[in-house]
Symmetry: C2
Subunit: 379 residues, 2 copies
C-alpha cells in the first residue's frame, strides 16, 4: 500500500461509486471555509437548511454560515440538543415540521453539520420532507467522517433499539473538514479511531500496520490525520458501492459491532459509561479473541489488535466499562435481538487474522455464551 | 386500441418495469382468495403484518386472513381508524412501534389492505421499519387500484399540507381484487372513476372513447370493470417506468390536480363535502376549460369531458360543492403553494384536446385568477 503524503491545505477526494446516486467525499483541513462554494457548485441558488446540534453550532456554525454567505447562499439553522436522545421520533417530527414551515422547496438543500447523530437524523429528515430533498453531510466527529456520513444509512432510535427506523439515503456531497476535529474531546476522537482501525482489520492488513506506526501523528492532527480519514472513506466507499443495501459484504462493516451493540445496550446507551466507538473497540477485541478461541485466527493477531487499541487509550475488555453490566444471559438476549440476526441463527463477523474477516452465519449461541463467560464479562 | 374481453375469473397482470425494483400488478375478481399463495410465492415462510382500516377489516379481512392461512403464512393485524386523519405523524409512529414490538424481521412482509390512505401510510411505514421491509399492496378502493397503489409514492400529511412527508417506495406486488369494489360506496367508486377518466385524457383518446361507451358496465361490475382497472394500471405503470421520481412526464398524472387540491384544501379536506376524486373531477373540467379559454383546446373537447364526468354522477363545477368555498384570492394562494410550483412560477397540466395534455411551466397567475373568477367559483 502506498499512502501519499498529505500536506495541510491539501484536499483529498474520494468518490462513492453509485451510478446516478454517486457522490464525492472531500477531505481536508479548513474545508468548511469552502463549503459555500462547493455546495453552490452543485446547487446554485439553493437555500440551505442547516441541521446541527448546539455544541457544534457554538464551535463551527459561524464559519459554516460565513462560507455559505460568501457564496451567496441563503440559509436557515435548525438546532437540536446534542446527544443520542435527539435521534428520536419527536425530534424527527419536529424537524420535518420546521423545515416545511420554512417553505423550503424541493430543489433546496439540507446540510447536516455535526457528528453521527446529526448526520443520521438530518439524512432521514431530508429523505422524507417532500419525499426527498438533496442533502450534504458536513461531519464534525472522527466517527462521522470515517463512517456514518458515508454510505447512506440514516435513521432514528426507538424504544425497541437503535437505528430501527430510517432509510437508505445517499448524500449529494460529503465535506469532511479535518481541522474541526481539533475541538473534539480526546475521548470522542479515540472512539472514532476504533472505526478507523476496523477498516484495517476487515480486509486491509497494510493499513493496520500503517496505523500501528502512525497513530500518534493521527491523534496530533498531522497530515496523517487527513490520510487516515481519506483511507477509511475509500474503504467504506468501496464496500458501499459493492453492496449499497447490506445484502452481502457490507455486513463486514459490522466487525466488532454485534458484541459492541450488546454492551452499549447493557449500559442503557449511557454515553458517560460507554460511547459507540468504545463498544466497537471492546467488541473488536472480543471478535478476534472469539475467532482465536475457535481456532480460526492466530492468538498473536488477537493480542496485537488488543495491544494497538489499548495503546491509543481505548477500552478493550468488558471490565474496562465502569459500573455493572447485565449478566451473560441478558447480553446473549441482546445479541440474539441484534438486527444482523436472521430467522434465529446468529450471524457474526469472524476473522482468520488481521485484515482477514468474514461473515459467518449460524454461529452456535452456546459457543458465544461460553466464550463470554470465560471472558469474565457481565457479572 | 384493442381491449381484450375479460371474463370473470380471469386475471390480468401488468408489469411495472423498474428493473430490479419492478413488480406485477395482478387484477381480477376474487383475487384476495389467492393472496396467500401469491405472497408465499415471493416470500415463502414470511410473517405478514397486515395494516388495514377498521371498515375494510370488517368487510374483507377474514377472507384475506383465510387466504394467508391456507398458504401457511403467519400474520398479525394492525388496524387504524378509517379516513384521511390516519395519514398522520402520530399514527405513523405508532405503527412503526407496533411493528417493531411484534418482532417482525427484515425478510417479513407488510401488506396494505385498504384504500389509498392505508396504502400511503403502510408503504411509508414499511419503507422505514428496519430501513425497509418488503410490502404488498392490496388496494380495496377503485382509486387505490388504478392510482395510489401503483408507482411507489407513499407518505403522510402534515399541518402544512397533504403528502408532504414520505418516500418513494415501490411495492413488491399489487393485488387488485376488483370484486371487493362491490362493497364500496357508489360515491367512492365514482371518485376513483375520475382518475380512470384522467388516463384517457392525458394521452389516450381511444380509452376515453371506450369509457364513454362502457362506463355503465364498469359501474355495474361487469368484465369492463377489470378491463378499466387493468388499462389504467398499464397507463400509470408506463408513466412511472419512464419517470419514477417525477422529474418529468410523471407530472402529467397531476392533470386536474392543481385545481383539485386547491378545492380540497378549500373545504378543509372535509370528505363529507368533497373527496379527492371529486376534486379531481372538477379540476379536470377546469383544466380543459382553462385550456379552451387560452385557445389551446377545442371548446367541444372541454364540453365532452364535462359531459362524461357529469353523466357518471361526478361534480364538474365549483358550485357543485356544498357549503362555502374560500374566495378566489385564497384559492390562488393554495394553488401557488402546491407542490408542483417551482421557484414562484406556476406549473399546470394543460391540454390541446382529449388525450393531448402537456406540462406548461410558467403559467401567468393573473390568467388563472381571471379564469376562476369567470368560472364563478369560490365566492
Ligand atoms: N449512519 C451510519 O452508517 C452510522 C455509522 C456509525 C455510527 N452511526 C451513528 O452515529 C452516532 C454517533 O456519532 P458520533 O459519535 O459522531 O456522535 P455525536 O453526533 O453525538 O457526537 C458526539 C459529541 O461530540 C460533539 N461534537 C461533534 N462535533 C464536534 C466537534 N467538532 N468539536 C467538539 N464537539 C463536537 C457533539 O455535540 C456530541 O456531543 C450514533 O447515533 C450511531 O448510531 C451511524
Ligand atoms: N400514492 C399515490 O400515488 C396516491 C395517488 C392518489 C391518491 N393518493 C391518496 O389516496 C388517499 C385516498 O384514497 P381512497 O380514496 O382510497 O381513500 P380511503 O383509503 O380513505 O378509502 C375511502 C373509504 O373507503 C373505505 N373503503 C375502502 N375499501 C372499501 C371497500 N372495498 N368497501 C367499502 N369501503 C371501503 C375506507 O374505509 C374509507 O372510509 C388520499 O390520502 C390520497 O392522498 C395517493
Ligand atoms: Zn460503528
Ligand atoms: Zn389523484
Amino acid at each position: 500500500m502506498t499512502l501519499s503524503p498529505a500536506e495541510t491545505g491539501a484536499r483529498r477526494t474520494v468518490r462513492v461509486d453509485l451510478g446516478a446516486r454517486g457522490y464525492d467525499i472531500v477531505i481536508g483541513d479548513g474545508l468548511i471555509s469552502e463549503a459555500g462554494a462547493r455546495i453552490a457548485a452543485l446547487f446554485p441558488r439553493a437555500r440551505v437548511a442547516i441541521i446541527t446540534d448546539e455544541t457544534v453550532a457554538e464551535l463551527h456554525l459561524p464559519a459554516f454560515k460565513a462560507a455559505l454567505e460568501a457564496a451567496g447562499l441563503d440559509h436557515e439553522t435548525f438546532p437540536v440538543k446534542p446527544g443520542e436522545a435527539s435521534k428520536s421520533f419527536p425530534i424527527f417530527e419536529d424537524l420535518c415540521d420546521r423545515l416545511l414551515a420554512s417553505r423550503l422547496e424541493r430543489g433546496d438543500v439540507v446540510a447536516a453539520l455535526g457528528g453521527g447523530v446529526i448526520g443520521d437524523l438530518a439524512g432521514f429528515v431530508a429523505g422524507v420532507v417532500r419525499r426527498g430533498m438533496p442533502f450534504v453531510q458536513v461531519p464534525t466527529t472522527l466517527l462521522a467522517q470515517v463512517d456514518s456520513s458515508v454510505g447512506g444509512k440514516t435513521g432514528i432510535n426507538t424504544r425497541h433499539g437503535k437505528n430501527l427506523v430510517g432509510i437508505f439515503n445517499q448524500p449529494a456531497l460529503v465535506l469532511a473538514d479535518t481541522a474541526v476535529l481539533d475541538t473534539l474531546s480526546p475521548r470522542e476522537f479515540r472512539a472514532g479511531y476504533a472505526e478507523v482501525a476496523k477498516y484495517g482489520l476487515i480486509d486491509d492488513p497494510d493499513f493496520f500496520v500503517w496505523l500501528e506506526e502512525n497513530w500518534a501523528g493521527i491523534f496530533e492532527g498531522a497530515p496523517a490525520r487527513i490520510e487516515a480519514v481519506a483511507h477509511s472513506c475509500e474503504a467504506k466507499a468501496r464496500v458501499v458501492a459493492a453492496d449499497e443495501r447490506e445484502g452481502g459484504v457490507r455486513a463486514l462493516l459490522n466487525l466488532g459491532h454485534t458484541f459492541g451493540h450488546a454492551l452499549e445496550r447493557g449500559v442503557g446507551y449511557d454515553g458517560a459509561l460507554l460511547v459507540h466507538g468504545e463498544g466497537v473497540s471492546i467488541g473488536t477485541v472480543l471478535a478476534h479473541r472469539f475467532s482465536a478461541e475457535m481456532g480460526l485466527c492466530p492468538a498473536e493477531d488477537a493480542e496485537r489488535v488488543e495491544r494497538h487499541l489499548a495503546i491509543v487509550g481505548l477500552p478493550t475488555h468488558m471490565s474496562d466499562i465502569p459500573g455493572q453490566l447485565p449478566g451473560i444471559p441478558e447480553l446473549m438476549r441482546y445479541i440474539a435481538q441484534d438486527k444482523k440476526v436472521s430467522r434465529g441463527a446468529l450471524t457474526f463477523i469472524l476473522t482468520r487474522g488481521i485484515g482477514r474477516s468474514f461473515i459467518e452465519k449460524g454461529v452456535d449461541p452456546a459457543a458465544v455464551e461460553g466464550f463470554l463467560e470465560r471472558s469474565g464479562g457481565g457479572v
